[in-house]
């Protein structure tokens, strides 16, 4: 957001690239982003892609941010308009003073009616048709070619691009040369015909060492590997599929016994989400750490089993990579719309532990934590990512691992313990913390018990007796009280004394933090709390009690976080004001700044979401 006083916009601008999906633009965009990252400059990439394999419009947004902001700013400084179908809209999106780059092979004079932006025409198709053979190659290279144009305009290091290409195509060196040729074509044309670099450009920094660019699905999958998960069951659904793909990929690298070739994991593609969660329950019940990944529609299908797991107290880990609902919604767009359905999934009095990571880094650590919590509390743990976290590449701190970590398997009675006791009762609250002891099949006949979703007594036997039934149900409430002590604490920013505050969760974090800086620059200080888990603990209660005006920022239409806070804390409902963003694009800092300032300074209540 900041503009340097000399008017230059070094390392602080947004490039948006409009292409057609299935044309190889993803490689060009990754190449651009990674080369900026390797130059030590903080960068963010967001992919807005269709639920389609080939032929529909797709956009990629790269934000170069010297200050390390990770959210969308809400504006576009350079538009690379490669898609004729969306051209009119793309031209409109460019901020005044910005640039439009288009393929001038076919002139589009009628559409260039903006005098507040600079238009840069590059005959990309012509350049590629003259230099490459084959229709497919020409299409692919046209996209690599615009990366070359941007390299010249932004002053990117071409050698760094070559280095990245060499890594990507280590096994196909011929492709390095072809790609470099395309880069050079674009680079040279831009250098020859335009003043390079632009005032918007990059300059080497040293702000990315100790960092990685990774998506949340990959990071969460890695967490599952490190947590010791052995049974992965799933049904393909966007945007969670890449989490399972990554798990398989890491497992193939780290879990195959070099001597025997045996696989220390089972990877099961289920027939549907119902079966996927069933397998996860069966495996966890039998003592293996097991998980699944899905999205909102999958959570709906899994709900019956989640209720069984809650009541019969079977651990399970479920990643819900949220996408736009309701129903099929927009499968490739992001939202935080399963907060309520995850917290209360299933019929009857049912509640689930939920974790809300804000980025890939936290997705890694929370994946590990999810298994510990699931086994410690003997209940499902739902980790709510969203498409933005799960599928976009985020710059985060290098992931760390402490080799002294050992899984918290919770209360398990093994063979020796069972030998010593007279009788085992599955649901007897011996420690008075609401958590009972469990056993695994095949260990000892004394440990055998009958798991059921029907009414059961604290001794594990069937019941239709009111008192016996209530005893177990009430203990589950005590277990949830215990759970609060184990939940990750909220993250609080600010001195805590401000009158107004923002409460948010998950992927809103980057946008909120940037918005707080902008608001601060206007002389207003707001405190901020990011909740990281459900159920909410006392720190959440305290923060809510300590502030008079609380903006609840979330990415859904129905204010689901606000609803949860209202239902599950002592907060006065009237204190909570919603800022709701549900366009399917990740929330921008501008949306939050406009919403908060509009309300605080002008009394303009902005409860509905916009598209900013």
């Amino acid at each position: 957001m900041s503009v340097a006083s000399n008017g230059s916009r070094i390392n602080d601008f947004v490039i948006k690239i409009a292409t057609v999906n299935g044309t190889g633009s993803a490689s060009a965009n990754t190449l651009l982003m990674k080369s900026i990252f390797r130059s030590g400059i903080p960068v963010m990439g967001k992919n807005y892609f269709p639920s389609n394999i080939q032929g529909l419009p797709t956009w990629y947004e790269i934000r170069v941010s010297k200050d390390g902001y990770v959210a969308r700013s809400g504006k576009v400084d350079i538009m690379v308009a490669m898609n004729a179908e969306t051209y009119a809209r793309d031209v409109r999106d460019v901020a005044p003073g910005g640039y439009l780059i288009y393929d001038s092979t076919w002139p589009r004079p009628a559409l260039l009616k903006r005098d507040d932006i600079t238009v840069i025409g590059i005959p990309l198709a012509r350049l590629c048709n003259e230099n490459f053979k084959g229709v497919r190659t020409r299409i692919l290279m046209k996209n690599i070619c615009y990366a070359g144009v941007l390299a010249a305009l932004l002053d990117l290091d071409v050698e760094r691009i070559r280095e990245l290409l060499a890594e990507t195509y280590a096994k196909k060196p011929a492709l390095v040369d072809a790609n470099m040729q395309a880069i050079q074509l674009g680079y040279d044309y831009a250098k020859t015909h335009f003043d390079c670099p632009l005032i918007l450009r990059v300059e080497k920094m040293d702000k990315t060492s100790g960092h990685i660019m990774i998506d949340g699905n990959t990071a969460a999958a890695l967490g599952c590997i490190y947590a010791g998960a052995t049974v992965a069951a799933w049904y393909p659904i966007t945007p969670s599929t890449s989490l399972m793909d990554a798990f398989k990929n890491f497992a193939d690298k780290t879990r195959i016994d070099p001597e025997t070739g045996k696989a220390n994991f089972a990877f099961i593609q289920a027939e549907d989400e119902l079966a996927a969660i069933g397998m996860v329950l069966g495996a966890n019940w039998n003592g293996a750490r097991s998980f699944t990944a899905t999205s909102g529609p999958g959570v709906s299908l899994m709900s019956e089993f989640l209720g069984l797991a809650y009541y019969a107290e079977v651990p399970a880990v479920l990643f819900d990579v949220q996408r736009v609902g309701p129903s099929t919604g927009m499968p490739t767009r992001t939202q935080q719309c399963d907060l309520i359905s995850a917290a209360y999934a299933s019929h009857g009095d049912t509640k689930h532990i939920c974790l809300y990571p804000a980025n890939p880094e936290e997705s890694f650590y929370m994946a590990v934590q999810a298994f510990d919590l699931a086994e410690r509390l003997q209940t499902p743990v739902i980790v709510l990512l969203d498409l933005d976290i799960g599928m976009n590449d985020w710059m985060c701190r290098d992931l760390q691992w402490d080799d002294s970590y050992r899984p918290d398997r919770g209360k398990i009675l093994g063979k020796e313990e069972l030998e010593k006791i007279e009788k085992f009762y599955r649901y007897l609250d011996k420690d008075e913390d609401g958590i009972t002891y469990r056993t695994f099949p095949g260990v000892h006949p004394k440990g055998a018990y009958f798991t059921r979703g029907s009414g059961h007594t604290q001794f594990g036997t069937y019941t239709e007796d009111s008192a016996d039934y209530q005893l177990v149900l009430d203990r589950l409430v005590r277990k949830f009280t215990t759970a609060k002590r184990h939940m990750p604490k909220p993250v609080v920013v600010g001195h805590g004394k401000a009158k107004a505050a923002i409460v948010s969760l998950g992927s809103c974090d980057g946008a909120v933090r940037e918005a707080l800086d902008v608001i601060e620059a206007r002389g207003l200080h707001l405190d901020y709390m990011r909740v990281r888990a459900f159920p909410f603990d006392e720190e959440v209660e305290k923060f809510l009690a300590d502030h008079e005006i609380i903006y609840v920022v979330e990415q859904n239409r129905d204010a689901q976080l606000k609803s949860l806070l209202t239902l599950e804390t002592r907060v006065e409902k009237a204190k909570l004001r919603s800022l709701l963003h549900y366009s399917g694009l990740p929330v921008s800092s501008k949306f939050i700044v406009d919403g908060v300032l509009g309300d605080l300074l002008e009394g303009r209540r902005t409860v509905a979401g916009g598209v900013v």
Partner: protein
């Protein structure tokens, strides 16, 4: 269904198996099904079968869905863990449990409603995955707990207790399982314990998915005149075509098989099932021929029983295909599962 434990008093003269356990040691809690229910006879056969092969009670995992049949897992082998899950979803619980620990016996008890309607998908996919378990369908053609609606196994023309006649064709689990490539497919009758016990033993030992469809009349809702799943009708129309003997490993040496008469099928642990054909025209090892033969008899209104199809399928068993180690996954030490901090640095190299 109230829970009534059985007193554990055993007469000293009761016969003992190799583990020194009596049949009483393989019992469960008291059944609360209707008096005369076919399912109770199947429970008795399971107890006999497990005792007979000297199974460690804690090594049996009992899984079920919802329905009268699914309740019965509480009525046998109380020394083994039981999991009464949700309607039609037992196969997925079985798959997950089996993936976690391949070293135990898995028995799934289901009904015709549980397996052929709400759980048809999971039933089929458990077969496709060739999960090593014995899957018993206690088949009575009706929904018992909800009082007598037709199930998907009800024959065309069969009459409900209140007089309604079924018009829709049935789903036959035996034909379906053969179609899907199951390696062990049997049909039996709850009233034929002599046939059922060795089938259960063979099914438990079979290294892959084993199905036994057991005709098990519902005395309350489907045992009347006009029903094709009544005791009387079943007794009249069932025809054993293959006798199966289960031969434990240690007896193997002394057993001789006359060629042409008997067909031994080797099981994983050296024990074997010996099939004795009662009809010369029938080859139970040939999937296609078996399918056609069974179908022809169904068309004539006859229930063929016995081990109708059996062939070795070790290679396609779930763990074989997934190359999991002999050590059950739930017992692999954490150190072998966690790649460690050093390896993390390497794995992250491509993200820098």
């Amino acid at each position: 269904m109230t829970f009534i434990p059985k007193p554990k008093i055993a007469h000293p003269s009761l016969p003992k198996n190799d583990l020194g356990l009596t049949r009483r040691d393989y019992e469960g809690s008291l059944s609360t099904l209707c008096a005369g229910c076919g399912h109770d006879s199947i429970t008795a056969a399971i107890i006999e079968a497990c005792w007979g092969i000297s199974m460690l009670p804690e090594n049996l995992v009992k899984l079920s869905g919802i329905g009268c049949s699914s309740k019965t897992t509480a009525y046998f082998v109380s020394g083994g863990h039981g999991f009464n899950s949700v309607h039609g979803r037992m196969p997925s619980i079985a798959m997950g449990a089996n993936a976690a620990n391949r070293g135990l016996y898995y028995i799934g008890i289901s009904g015709d409603g549980d397996s052929l309607s709400i759980g048809l998908g999971q039933f089929c996919h458990a077969i496709r995955r060739n999960v090593n378990m014995l899957y018993i369908i206690e088949n009575n053609g009706v929904y018992g707990l909800t009082k007598g609606q037709f199930s998907a196994s009800a024959d065309i023309g069969t009459k409900a207790k209140k007089g309604e006649v079924n018009q829709q064709p049935p789903i036959d689990p035996v034909l379906l399982a053969m179609n899907l490539g199951a390696g062990f497919v049997a049909r039996s009758f709850s009233g034929d314990k002599a046939q059922l016990v060795p089938l259960i033993q063979a099914g438990l030992k079979y290294p892959g998915f084993a199905l036994i469809d057991v005709l098990s009349p519902c005395v309350t809702f489907n045992d009347h005149e006009g029903s094709t799943k009544s005791y009387a009708y079943t007794r009249e129309h069932y025809e054993p075509v293959v006798e199966a003997d289960f031969v434990p490993f240690k007896k193997e040496i002394s057993t001789e098989y006359a060629p042409g008469e008997a067909l031994p099928v080797m099981l994983h642990d050296g024990s074997r099932v010996v099939l004795r054909k009662l009809d010369d025209d029938y080859d139970p090892s040939d999937e296609l021929a078996a399918h056609e033969y069974v179908q022809q008899h169904i068309a004539r209104g006859e229930y063929l029983t016995g081990l109708l199809h059996c062939r070795p399928t070790q290679d396609s068993e779930f763990h074989a295909l997934n190359r999991t180690p002999e050590t059950p996954l739930n017992q692999v030490p954490f150190e072998r599962l966690n790649p460690g901090a050093k390896q993390l640095g390497k794995l992250l190299a491509r993200y820098r």
